[in-house]
């Protein structure tokens, strides 16, 4: 039991460390207007390897995505993804999850 707990703790620490060194993308998306919008977007983003936390803010028209270190989201990729989900991608900013801004 102790070994299992130790493995779980280590894996959580590793995961936290990986995402702490990752990137946060803040994407502006047009067309978001109801809760039903969020699910399809989250599902498509989660299908990308290395994507962690996803926050959708309907009121602000924002989709915030944390990705692990070494993973990058590109504009063409996001344009297609949001188009497939039924929305229009506008722009994104990114910043390092350890605090430094990468692109504003």
């Amino acid at each position: 039991m102790k070994k299992v707990l130790a493995v779980m703790m280590l894996s959580m620490l590793w995961s936290a460390a990986t995402f702490a060194a990752g990137t946060e993308y803040r994407m502006r998306v047009d067309g978001l207007a109801c809760p039903y919008c969020a699910y399809g977007i989250e599902k498509k983003l989660k299908a990308i390897e290395g994507v962690g936390k996803i926050d959708v803010d309907l009121n602000a028209g924002l989709v915030v995505v944390d990705v692990a270190e070494g993973v990058a989201l590109t504009e063409p990729q996001m344009k297609t993804l949001f188009q497939d989900a039924g929305f229009t991608y506008r722009s994104m900013t990114e910043k390092s999850l350890d605090g430094g801004a990468k692109n504003e």
């Binding site: 502006r28 047009d30 067309g31 978001l32 207007a33 109801c34 809760p35 039903y36 919008c37 969020a38 699910y39 399809g40 989250e42 599902k43 498509k44 926050d55 959708v56 803010d57 309907l58 009121n59 602000a60 028209g61 188009q83 497939d84 989900a85 039924g86 929305f87 229009t88």
Partner: protein, 309 residues
């Protein structure tokens, strides 16, 4: 459509299932809550599925004739949608029906009924206009489909072949065409559609073609003020359904006791979350300008749930 057996006078009843079928089909862009009484506006994204299960009770009992007809049509309607891509979506609509007709014949009250899977309707919708802005969107999408005669149209009871109003299937291939439009903001959503279904002949019976004009307003009642994140929405809904049906043809003769124009006003409520939607509405007839002794609707009640997966 259906067989009418020896009960020619009952052929006008076919109006009702046609209206239900039409309503169910029409009861269908890609990201909004959608109307309750028609399916053509249902949102489904690329490579995703949507399921709506709707339970409908349609009561008609205000019979102007001595037959004192009383009809109850229950249906569990399954709708499956699939997003082929961001523009094209395909839908299938399959009802399970339980129809019952009571009437007085030669001084005796009789009951005729049938149940089973009805006619499958398939249709495709293609979004030709998509305008997205912060917190709002607008879509226009034509659709085209066909109702296939998958339901039994020759069910019998001890008195013989059941009339069309009781049969669960029509027996005919009936194409439909229309266009649906949606404007949605964070506060409300408006949907409108216009459609036409051509009903063809089967078993010497041809139901009148059906033209529809439907509108729906969904207004967010809760939360009153939007914060961050993705809260569930509670909508108040009001819909209107203007339905005109031509007269039925029986053995090539127009049935003067069939067809006409109905206007329903439909209050309802809708609870919308990320994954599922629950909704209910009741269609109240406010105008029924029907031909001859065609049977009027009392109400049509709907309860449904919807999932994305």
């Amino acid at each position: 459509m259906n067989r009418y057996g020896g009960y020619h006078v009952l052929c006008d009843f076919f109006t009702i299932p046609v209206l239900i079928a039409g309503s169910v089909v029409m009861g269908a862009g890609s990201a909004w809550s959608a109307p309750i009484t028609f399916n053509t506006a249902l949102p489904v994204a690329k490579n995703e599925f949507l399921v709506r299960e709707q339970f409908i009770i349609n009561r008609s009992s205000d019979d102007p004739t001595n037959l004192n007809r009383d009809r109850t049509a229950k249906a569990a309607v399954s709708v499956l949608g699939y997003g082929v891509n961001g523009k094209l979506a395909l839908f299938g609509v399959l009802p399970y029906r339980d129809n019952e007709l009571k009437l007085t014949v030669a001084g005796q009250r009789i009951k005729r009924s049938a149940s089973g899977f009805g006619d499958l309707t398939v249709f495709g919708r293609y979004t030709v206009v998509q305008r997205d802005q912060p917190g709002r969107n607008f879509r226009i999408a034509p659709f085209v489909g066909i109702k296939a005669p998958t339901g039994d149209d020759d069910k019998r009871d001890a008195m013989g072949v059941l009339p069309p109003s009781v049969q669960v299937g029509s027996g005919s291939w009936d194409p439909l065409v229309g266009v649906v439009s949606t404007y949605q903001t964070l506060d409300y959503q408006i949907d409108g559609q216009i459609s036409y279904q051509i009903n063809n002949k089967a078993n010497d019976f041809e139901a009148g073609d059906v033209a529809r004009l439907d509108g729906s307003l969904q207004y967010r009642l809760w939360p009153r003020t939007l914060g961050g994140g993705v809260p569930a929405f509670f909508y108040g809904v009001i819909e209107a359904n203007l339905i005109h049906q031509q007269k039925n043809q029986v053995n090539g003769q127009s049935n003067s006791d069939s067809g006409g124009t109905r206007l329903f006003l439909t209050p309802g409520i809708q609870y919308v979350t990320r994954r599922w939607i629950a909704e209910t509405a009741i269609q109240v007839p406010v105008v029924q300008n029907l031909n001859g002794d065609a049977l009027e609707n009392d109400y049509i009640a709907r309860v449904s749930v919807r999932f994305n997966f």
